[in-house]
Amino acid sequence: MSPEHWTRPSRPDDRDRLADTAVPAATSATPTREQVIAGLRATSEGGADLVQLLTPEGQRVSHPDFDIDITDEQLRGMYRDMVLVRRADREGNALQRQGQLGIWVPLLGQEAAQIGAGRAMRPQDMAFPSYREHGVAWCRGIDPTELLGIFRGTDHGSWDPNETGMSLYTIVIGNQCVNATGYAMGQKFEGKVGNSGDDPASNEATMVFFGDGATSQGDVHEGMVWASVYDAPVVFFCQNNQWAISEPTERQSRVPLYERAKGYGFPGIRVDGNDVLATLAVSQWAMNEARQGNGPLLIEAFTYRMDAHTTSDDATRYRLDDELEAWKLKDPIERLRAHLLREELADQEFFDRVDSEADELAARFREFCVNMPEPPPERMFSAVYAEESPVVAAQREDYLNYLAGFADSGHDTEGSVR
């Protein structure tokens, strides 16, 4: 049986069939009403261990282990972060639909998880993203326009990982966990972890971002094993957005994902990934632990992918609208907005200003995308190694000579210079 059968949406003629049949498996494509409700509860409620500081209604609640001191300015800043990142994300989606991008990977719904984690990092820390971390990139000071190259197919990322403290996007699922663990081991070998002396603030840690689907990949396992036995200062930040393309989380794990950490011998915490405050608090704590040499740690940010997996995906084919509606009520931005209004920490003028700033960003994003220059062919060779290699240099010469041998300009021929 093909995997699609598990998650295909029900067809109209299936409905009457349901009435008189035995209870189907929990993963059946045509669940009963009771199962739909139970499933909604399962995906929309994170369970007793979920760390939450802001309820979906925007009410501040306390947690015995994780609390946070935060200024009103910081709260407003995170609101702005999330609105701007969402706006750029929506524009990216539209640009793909208009033929300007080959593909776009939406982050809609995961803003709080990414901004909360991203704002917990210090400049000297290192982030290893997958390909959906537009919010983390924003926190690392990477302009959203720099994300466009890989989705338009002009380059593989243009920011400097050393300068920004963020590696380039990784398309291979879970692969970045191995890289991050290696980098974190390096931080430890170089003595940048657990220093209590003159400047404890100089301690570093690494944070790696991946999804619920990636937890089934061997690379994530390997990364966790190495990180645990070498006490690497790495925080595994898993955004559980409930869907690995069309596969639900229950096809990834029997136990809640954060409990997996127990098996590797390090702490795992489940945080409300739609609560930017809780995510920030838990991430700050975890990064501090890692910087002090108490790593690794696992954070499962319990969130939801409100849009399709990518623009090439049609989520309506495998998941129920009820689920989407349930999660809409937990929207991360609305939650913080409600809090700011409730506590009178921001006025209408502030919200309007953020909105107009978002529109400006979107216009700039679009303008940049449409007019994005194609990198010259030598770019293919120039950044392969840090230092010039004679082999690569020879290849470059050969290729440039080859291109120079054409009688026409060549830019109108497919596949010539790309």
Binding site: R97, D313, G405, F406, D412
Partner: protein, 507 residues
């Protein structure tokens, strides 16, 4: 005055080539905002709403709902808002001039009339193009590196700019077949290029007819093993490629090969006209079928036997199948199960699947079952065949039957779909009829009438209980099939229908 902008259909998935317009949300004259949803399209992957790339006024819709449009084809024109041309245009012309050399920005028409899409997606022109090399390009040195798979040496490459030179087509495999080397990008319109295209097409024709027949290596091997001469076959695959089925059909015997030769030869033309004038062929076939029926009734001595069976277990089995994930999108009808039962039973009693060849003085036994299914249509009785039904699983059979009957009901059954049956089932039950004495399809030796399934009193373990009961009637040609074989076949079909588990006992 204001410059109209096109919105070419984007590739909204990865590597999609076309999409169907589902519905427009706007019409000509409507003012639209940037990113306003204007149209819903359906691709092979998903239904997608497209946001408008410009703010402005819709000028014209270039595609209609239901129309399938190739990626890159403009679907609407729009007059951009604001006429801010004074503000933003000054630097644009310069930029455009520079860009148009490069074939235009994505989504815009380039100097050569092509519309650029992203990285190799979207439709390609039909023939591959090669860029011309500079005259004095260091051809000797470069020849090897860029000649790809062709066996041409540097000397065979274009001698001068703009002169198309044919590649060595055909000799080294499909990759070079029909490939033309064009002098310059828009050269498809030049006479030399079209001559080139003709000669490439002609080359393919020769290859299919008199040259090397087109077939994949495993099929060639099969043909060699079975002693089938590929040159004598007409390929039924796309582009006239000879398929495994073609070879197997030819190998199955001179009779069928000869029989399929006729329709196969004309099948392309027939199908072509069938698409344009689809009512005519069915009518003709129907006439011919009527004639054949008369012939059949007066040449083949018919015997009809009847059997009433309790099919409750089959109906229960069918209910279970409905819940089975593998069958969730298939309608498993009692007809499908009966068809499967016939295929199984025919293996045990091959006589019912044989044909009387009076001229040759032979009975032709067939190792395959082309199952005819009588379908009622507006134009009368049509009996399309399920080819090689004996090789199909129940699911495949159910799918095939569904397609077959819906095609027939829509009157789209092609003539060749109605030839070369080996045995037939007629579902008189759908009309609420219990049974009948069916007339054989000409050239066949048996036909089964499948009656209505109704609740009837039935004796089970001495008790009268309501059961689902159905009648079967089998007519057979007594020249080929004796009462013993006919009875065994009918009893076998009945045993499977009254207890699907019995299917396990059939080889």
């Amino acid at each position: 005055m204001a410059q109209l902008k096109n919105f070419p259909l984007p590739d909204v998935g990865e590597g999609l080539t076309e999409a169907e317009i589902l519905n427009w949300r706007i019409g000509p004259g409507d003012a639209v905002e940037l990113n306003q949803i204007i149209v819903e399209i359906e691709t092979a992957k998903a239904s997608v709403e497209l946001p408008c790339p410009y703010a402005g006024t819709i000028s014209e819709l270039l595609a209609e709902p239901g129309q399938t449009v190739e990626v890159g084809t403009p679907i609407l024109t729009i007059e951009p808002a604001g006429a801010e041309s004074d503000e933003s245009e000054p630097d644009k012309p310069a930029e455009r001039g520079e860009r148009s050399e490069q074939g235009g920005k994505i989504g815009e028409e380039g100097a050569d009339g092509r519309i650029a899409t992203l990285v190799g997606y979207g439709p390609r022109s039909t023939s591959a193009k090669r860029r011309p090399r500079k005259k004095d390009a260091t051809a000797g040195q470069r020849g090897g590196s860029d000649s790809g798979g062709s066996n041409g040496s540097a000397g065979q490459r274009p001698a001068s700019n703009g002169t198309p030179v044919p590649t060595g087509a055909g000799t080294d495999g499909a990759g070079t077949n029909g490939t033309a080397v064009n002098g310059s990008a828009p050269a498809t319109s030049t006479p030399s290029a079209s001559r080139q295209a003709e000669s490439a097409a002609g080359g393919t024709g020769v290859a299919a007819g008199g040259g090397v027949p087109l077939a994949k290596p495993p099929v060639r091997k099969l043909a060699k093993d079975l002693g089938v001469e590929l040159r004598s076959l007409h390929g039924s695959g796309s582009g006239g490629v000879i398929t495994r089925q073609d070879v197997e059909r030819a190998a199955a015997g001179g009779v069928t090969a000869a029989a399929s030769e006729g329709p196969a030869a004309g099948s392309l033309a027939a199908r072509d006209s069938a698409e344009r004038e689809h009512r005519v062929p069915i009518k003709g076939v129907r006439k011919a079928t009527a004639q054949a029926m008369v012939d059949s009734a007066f040449t083949a001595p018919h015997v009809t036997e009847f059997l009433t069976i309790d099919v409750t277990p089959m109906m229960e089995f069918r209910e279970r199948l409905k819940k089975h994930p593998d069958f969730r999108d298939v309608k498993v009808t009692p007809l499908a199960i009966a068809s499967k039962a016939m295929c199984l039973a025919a293996k045990r009693t091959p006589d019912v699947n044989a044909a009387w060849d009076g001229e040759a003085g032979e009975i032709v036994y067939k190792d395959y079952v082309h199952l005819g299914v009588a379908a009622a249509t507006d134009r009368g009785l049509v009996v399309p065949k399920v080819r090689d039904a004996d090789g199909m699983s129940l699911r495949e059979l159910a799918v095939a039957l569904e397609e077959l009957t819906s095609t027939a009901r829509e009157g789209r059954t092609s003539p060749e779909a109605m030839t070369n049956g080996t045995i037939t089932i007629t579902n008189v039950g759908v009309f609420g009829v219990d049974t009948g004495t069916p007339i054989l399809n000409p050239g066949e030796s048996a036909i089964l009438a499948f009656g209505a399934i109704r609740e009837m009193p039935w004796v089970v373990d001495g008790q009268v209980v309501p059961r689902q009961v159905c009648q079967l009637a089998l007519s057979f040609d007594h020249r080929v099939v004796d009462g013993q074989q006919g009875s065994r076949f009918l009893a076998d079909v009945g045993s499977i229908l009254s207890d699907p588990g019995m299917a396990l006992t059939f080889g």
